[in-house]
């Protein structure tokens, strides 16, 4: 079974994990330009989203930014 812990909640992927972080964001409909991503506590820079492969059991934190300050 393919599972990712996304923002603390386990999400099961019945038809397999998205191959990369970029693919996961696309599947979740998250804009890559306004999100900060950590995989297992490690920051992943925007330029690495396409290259970062995902594995079952990983903990992913996605911080989405909305404007205002």
């Amino acid at each position: 079974m393919s599972v990712l812990k996304i923002n603390g909640t386990e999400k099961v992927f019945d038809s397999g994990l998205p191959a990369t972080l970029a693919a996961l964001l696309e599947q979740l409909d998250v804009n890559a330009e306004t999100v900060v991503a950590e995989v297992d506590g490690r920051i992943v820079e925007r330029s690495e989203f396409e290259k970062t492969e995902l594995h079952s059991g990983q903990a992913i934190e996605l911080v989405r930014f909305v404007p205002g300050g």
Binding site: E33, F65, V66
Partner: protein, 195 residues
Amino acid sequence: MNEFYEKLKKATVGIAGLGGLGSTVAVALARTNISSLVIADFDTIEKSNLNRQQYFINQLGEYKTDAMIKNLKQINPQVKVEGYKQKLTAGNIPEIFADADIIAECFDRAEQKKMLVETVLAKMERPVVVTVSGLAGYGRSNEIVTRRISNRLIVIGDGESGTDLDMPLTAGRVWLAASHQANAIVEILVDEIIK
């Protein structure tokens, strides 16, 4: 109690952006007697800023950085303030905030917020970053929360209320988020960073 104030005498905090969040965080930290602030904003004060930002009518047109240095001196002349009037980029952030123990992300645009947080976490070894997402509108005070995402990342806000949803920025709600920031900064400095 003494130990608390002694620790703050050794602390340096960076503030990226001096709008509603940044100007309010700066005022709160100066009043808390933080030793040293590094503040940065390239913008000047406009009339529309005065509904929530810590400036005055006679400062319209001044650089926010210059005006804030003056205002902080009036509040607490003991605080050392270093000001930068250039636009913050992934290239200059590590240098400008090199001495910071902790950095407050106080930008307006979502892309800029992301850029700062990513730069601090990826290009700098030490500082914690306290960022905000979701503070627009009014009411719903208790939806603004402080969350520890990881060792060096704290996120404040409701995560959803952006100005892109045609919500106004109101002093009360912006200051709530800024107060969460200032409060988290003091907590992390005293309990974790300063020995």
